[in-house]
Symmetry: C2
Subunit: 466 residues, 2 copies
C-alpha cells in the first residue's frame, strides 16, 4: 500500500493541465454530450418499445462478474481482451465482455422458481480491451434479446426462433430501415451437421471446415478453394459441399438430387418452418437462406442468423447483428436444468454506422421544452418562478431564462433568441403591465405568432394525476 | 501470459456447479429480474421527467476513467476503495466512484464551445470497493443534477442554488413523498467561514471544527462538547459557536446580538435569498436552516444541503441525498476556465430504502401488454401471428401465448390464466368458427367481460405514425 501511495504521488507530480486533458481522452470510450446522450437513449427507447411489443421483459446484471463465467465458453482469446482485476478477497473479476453468462446465471440460480419460457431483453454496457476501430469500441452497448426454455418443455423451437428474428427485423424497422437496406441471412448449424454427415467428415475436419466457412468473406475464392481441397480430399464430397454452398434458397435443397436426402431431415423441416413463420410475421422480404452463415465455432446448435447491409459499399461491411440457438445454456455457470435458448446480440455501434450511411438521424421524441419563461423586469422574477412551478405541476417542461438571475434580465429579444436555440415550443413573456392584469404574452416559436392570454387559461388543463 | 493460462486452468479444474453458483453471488452487486429492472427503470424515468421539466439535459461518460482524475480531490481514502485496472499501455484506469470529475472533464475539454450556464443531469452506475451494508452497494446508481457556469458570468448564484434544491424536492415528490416525510436542511459553507472569522479560528482549527460538526450526529453530546473545548479554548468564542449551533432559522441570526454582525455579510444575504426563492418554488415547507450541515471537508464553497427522513426511526438515518456549491470545478482535470457549479448526488439505494419504509411501491407506467392472443386450434397459429403483427403496427403490445408452439395449444382456460398472470389488459381468443367470420372473442381481463367483435374493428385506429 505504501509503495502504491508513493507511486501515485510521483504520478500526480507531473499532472499538468495538458497531461490531465490528454489522460481524459480515453480512446474507444465515449463522453456523451446531451445531443449524443439523447440519441443513445432514444435507441434504447425504441429497443424497449419493440421488444416489449412482443412481450419481452428487461433484465440487467452486475457490470463486474467472476472470471470463471467466461473461462469455458468464451475461450482464451476473449479473456485476453477483457479488463480483469483482483478483488479484496483475491478472486478475479472482469468487466463483462458479453451478457450471456450473466443471464444464464440469473436463470441457473432461480431455475426452480422461474416460469419458462422466459422472454428477456437487455441493453447492457460491455467492455473489450481491444484496439478501437470503426464499428468497435472498448465500452459499448449491445441489445440482447433471448427466449429461454426448458429443453424438455415439448414446445416447437421454430416458433421461438422465428419470433426472435422478427423482433430483430422490427428493431431495424423502428429506425426506418427497410428490406431495401438490410438482409437477414438464416441457416441452421444442425442442418450443416447433417450435411457433414453425408459428406462424411470427422470431428476435426468439421471444426476446420466451419472455421473456413466462417471466414470465407475475408479470403479470396481461390484460397477458399485450396483450403477446402485440403480439408475435404474426396472429390465427390467436395462437389456436394460446393453444391451446398451455391444454394440460394431452401427449396433448391429439395430440388437438388444430391442434396435432397437432407430435405427429409428434421433439421431441414425446422428451418423450413422458420422461413414459413417469417411470412406470417410479414417480414419474409428481409429473409434469405445462406449456407455461409455458421456463426463461428462451438456454441450454436440450431438456427443461426446474421443481418447485413444490402449496400455495404457505402455502409457497413461486417454483420450488423447476429444470433442463433444454443443448448445447455446454464451448464457453465452451475445450472442444474437443461436450458435451451435462442437470441441475438445487436451492437449499438453497427446500428449507428448504418443509420449514418443512410443519413437517418435518431431524433429523440418528446425532448422539447413546452415553455421558456421570459421576464422583462427583475420585479417579476419571483412571479416567473411561481408560474414555472404551476406549469410543471401540469406536467409541462418549463425553462426559466438564464438571465433571470441577473440584476437586470437580458433584453426580451435576446431571451427569445435563446428560447429559439433551446427549441422550446412556446415562450411566455412576462411584461409588468400585462402581469398586473393576470396576462402574459405567449409566442409560438414555430410560426412566431404572439398573443396576450390570461394566465388562468394556461393552467386550465387538469393537473397531472399521480 | 503463460503463467496466467496455467493459473486459470488450475482454477477451472475445480469449477463444480456449486463453486460456480457461489462465485456468481457477487455480494454488493445486484441481478435485476424483470420486476426489479422495471422499478429501477421507472426511477430513472421519473428522474428524467422531473429534471427535464426544469430544462436539464442528460449526459454520460465512460465507466472507466484515468486514476489521475481522482487523485487530487477524492483523496487517498476513496482511491483505496476503488476498482483499479491496468490498461494495455500501462496506464491505470478506475471504475468511476463518482461522476463529478467526468462531467468536469467534459466541460474542460470543450469549454470554448459550450454555452453556459449548463444544466445537466445523469444517473450513472458508480462503484465502490467497500463492505456491502444496508444502504450501500458496490455497484450503485446515483442521480447527479448540476448547474455549471463561468465564475465571471455575473449571474446571481442563489437562483441556481434554489433551482437545484427545488429539483431535488420535486424528485422526492414524484415518488409521493411529502414535507411530512422529508426535510431539506440547508446551510452555507461560506457563511460558516464568516462565523469562523468572528470566532477567530486559524486554518487548522477550522479544519478540525468542520470535521467535528460533520460527524456530530455520530458522537454523544458530551464527547462533542469536550472536543469543541479542545479546538476552541476561548470561552467567548465557544459560546458564540454554541449559539450558532443552536440556531433554528436564519432570522434568529439577525435577532441575536452576538451573531447579528453575520447577518450583514453577503454570504448571509445569499443564503437568505435561497430561502426566499424556495417560497417562490412553493417548497419552503420542506426547507430548514441547519448549522450542522457542512458536507465534510474541502470541496464545497457556498450553499450546502442534505435531505433527511423526518421519521428516521423506521426509515433512513443517514442523509438521503446531499449537495452544494463548489468552485474551480475543472481545475483538477486540466480545465482553463474558472467554472463554478451547484448540484447534488442522490443515490438510488437510499431512495429505495425510504420508499420501502413508507410501503410506497415503484410501479412502472405503461408496462402492461395490451393483448394476449389465445388460440383454440393449431390451425390458427399462423393467423394468430399475422394478427399480432398487425396490432403491433398500431403500436400495441401483443403477447402470443407460449403454447402456440405446441402441436396442440393448451386449453383456452389455461392460456387465459397465463394472460391474467402477465397482467394483460385484454385477451383475444381465436376460435375456428368465429375466425371464419373474421371475428374474435375479446376478453377484458379487468372485469372478465367477453364479447365477439370484428377483427377489423381492432385495426380501425390509425396506424402509429413514425
Amino acid at each position: 500500500m505504501h509503495e502504491r501511495k508513493d507511486d501515485m504521488k510521483r504520478r500526480s507530480d507531473i499532472l499538468t493541465p495538458d497531461v490531465l486533458r490528454r489522460k481524459g481522452v480515453m480512446k474507444g470510450f465515449e463522453y456523451l454530450t446531451p445531443e449524443r446522450r439523447g440519441a443513445v437513449r432514444e435507441m434504447e427507447n425504441r429497443f424497449k418499445m419493440v421488444t416489449e411489443s412482443f412481450g419481452f421483459r428487461e433484465v440487467e446484471g452486475p457490470l463486474l462478474q467472476p472470471i470463471e463465467f467466461y473461462q469455458v465458453k468464451s475461450g482464451e482469446e476473449l479473456l485476453a481482451h477483457t479488463y480483469t482485476f483482483e478483488d479484496t478477497d483475491g478472486s478475479l473479476l472482469v468487466l463483462r465482455p458479453e451478457l450471456t453468462p450473466t443471464v444464464a446465471y440469473m436463470i441457473a440460480k432461480d431455475d426452480a422458481r422461474l416460469s419458462f419460457p422466459l422472454k428477456w431483453w437487455s441493453n447492457p454496457d460491455l467492455f473489450r480491451k481491444e484496439k478501437p476501430q470503426k464499428g468497435r469500441k472498448r465500452q459499448f452497448k449491445q441489445l440482447n434479446v433471448d427466449i429461454f426454455d426448458r429443453a424438455d418443455s415439448g414446445r416447437d423451437r421454430s416458433f421461438d426462433d422465428a419470433e426472435v428474428i422478427a423482433v430483430a427485423i422490427s428493431i431495424f424497422e423502428s429506425f426506418d430501415l427497410t428490406e431495401n437496406d438490410i438482409v437477414m441471412r438464416i441457416n441452421s448449424r444442425s442442418l450443416v451437421e447433417r450435411l457433414f454427415d453425408i459428406v462424411d467428415l470427422d470431428k476435426n475436419r468439421r471444426f476446420d471446415l466451419l472455421s473456413l466457412i466462417d471466414k470465407s468473406a475475408k479470403i479470396s475464392a481461390e484460397e477458399f478453394g485450396t483450403k477446402v481441397e485440403e480439408i475435404v480430399p474426396q472429390k465427390f464430397s467436395r462437389e456436394l459441399l460446393q453444391r451446398w454452398l451455391s444454394i440460394k434458397s431452401l427449396e433448391e435443397v429439395a430440388d437438388n438430387k444430391q442434396l435432397s436426402p437432407l430435405s427429409q431431415s428434421k433439421e431441414y423441416k425446422d428451418l423450413a418452418k422458420v422461413f414459413e413463420l417469417m411470412k406470417a410475421y410479414g417480414v419474409s422480404e428481409y429473409c434469405e437462406f445462406s449456407p455461409y452463415i455458421v456463426r463461428g465455432l462451438g456454441y450454436y446448435t440450431g438456427s443461426v442468423f446474421e443481418t447485413f447491409d444490402r449496400k455495404p459499399e457505402h455502409g457497413f461491411r461486417r454483420a450488423l447483428m447476429g444470433g442463433g440457438r444454443y443448448d445447455n445454456l446454464t451448464k457453465d455457470v452451475g445450472g442444474r436444468l437443461d436450458i435451451t435458448g435462442v437470441g441475438f446480440g445487436f451492437g449499438n455501434v453497427p446500428l449507428e454506422e448504418i443509420l449514418l450511411s443512410r443519413n437517418i438521424e435518431i431524433v429523440p421524441s418528446e425532448s422539447r421544452a413546452d415553455y421558456c419563461i421570459v421576464t422583462q423586469s427583475a420585479n417579476q422574477r419571483i412571479d416567473a418562478i411561481t408560474l414555472s412551478q404551476r406549469l410543471r405541476k401540469q406536467g409541462k417542461k418549463v425553462i426559466l431564462d438564464d438571465s433571470i438571475s441577473k440584476e437586470k434580465p437580458d433584453k426580451v429579444s435576446k431571451q427569445l433568441s435563446r428560447a429559439n436555440q433551446l427549441n422550446s415550443k412556446y415562450s411566455l413573456i412576462i411584461f409588468p403591465e400585462e402581469w398586473q392584469d393576470k396576462k402574459v404574452v405567449i409566442k409560438d416559436m414555430q410560426n412566431g405568432e404572439q398573443q396576450i392570454i390570461d394566465i388562468s387559461s394556461l393552467l386550465e388543463t387538469q393537473p397531472k394525476s399521480d
